[in-house]
Symmetry: C2
Subunit: 97 residues, 2 copies
């Protein structure tokens, strides 16, 4: 299994509407990319200071399936339209489990 | 459910032995902290440039259970002994799912 993990911080001027749109749009991806085996997305719960603002955990059966997701035009368009405009920093790993 | 996610980058002078010790030590935690419902840890798979070096995903039934883990003396000692000496940067979120 490949577990893809990415954390974001948003720009200071990102609006609540923009942040909520990211969640709404990401939640469409399992219906578009059947290679997604499990998908959890959401805003930081606010338990600790210094955290990133947002997290995504996506599980795949194989590296090839992860690459389908990573490079999928629908996903890339979502990133360009909804994530990049409010993205400050990004941290990611892929774990082979 | 609370999903705790943390990503690390290691210092340039971190040795393979030090990095492998982090995994070996973290994998002891589910035997020490029964509040851990699921726990995946590991080094980045090397699929993408610019990634962080290491990831941890820990699932809990509740915020209180997460706090037991976060503040557990065994966990804190592990961080002090094995993670902080080779830690360059850290990114974390907790998602309420």
């Amino acid at each position: 299994m490949i577990r893809h993990i990415v954390l974001f911080t948003w720009t200071d001027d990102a609006t609540d509407e923009q942040k909520e749109t990211v969640t709404a749009e990401l939640r469409k991806l399992p219906g578009v990319i059947p290679q997604l085996r499990a998908y959890t997305v959401g805003a930081d719960a606010g338990l600790n200071q210094g955290n990133h603002d947002y997290g995504v955990v996506a599980d795949f059966d194989s590296v090839d399936d992860y690459l389908v997701y990573r490079d999928h035009p629908y996903h890339q368009e979502l990133i360009a339209q909804h994530i990049k405009p409010i993205l400050a920093t990004r941290a990611a790993v892929q774990l082979s489990l």
